[in-house]
Amino acid sequence: SQTIHQWPATLVQPVGSPLSLECTVEGTSNPNLYWYRQAAGRGLQLLFYSVGIGQISSEVPQNLSASRPQDRQFILSSKKLLLSDSGFYLCASARDSNTGELFFGEGSRLTVL
């Protein structure tokens, strides 16, 4: 079965600082990968998804970006964080594209001060 590693688990950053969250997937090849954010009152919001190396689709316009430099690596970045970027970020990998089932990582808690 798949295993998803996310780091760092917790991050406190000042407004205007850069961000890099990393996600790696084991136990599968060529997975569809996703970044979700859970913020207060907003549920699980899909931010980005990727169907392959270098292929990124953005669901929500914002100051975040994503990259997929390797098949099983997905990175979420920002050049300048905003207060509104605070939240719980989750990386996910598709288990079955026909059923939509996803495996989620343990998440990264970002607090922007």
Binding site: I4, G43, L44, L46, G100
Partner: protein
Amino acid sequence: DQQVKQNSPSLSVQEGRISILNCDYTNSMFDYFLWYKKYPAEGPTFLISISSIKDKNEDGRFTVFLNKSAKHLSLHIVPSQPGDSAVYFCGGGSQGNLIFGKGTKLSVKP
């Protein structure tokens, strides 16, 4: 525009009784629907899914019902247990993507 809506932010149920979590959607192109359970500071875990061509799927204490004409689905948990206390997310999607609602926090009281 919210494609998936969970209008009840919270639900409290007595242990042993039935928990019914509701979800509405607007996108008639969804091919599948899923329910996830989430504890604080953890990633969501998959509970149960249903294809858009089905109207019911059952797995142990969990049953999901789909009413396509009403664009409504529900998750039934019976009997409810204190360990079921968590936030439940309803999701709908197609072609590998999944859009979630805002979640419903279920509290099961002993």
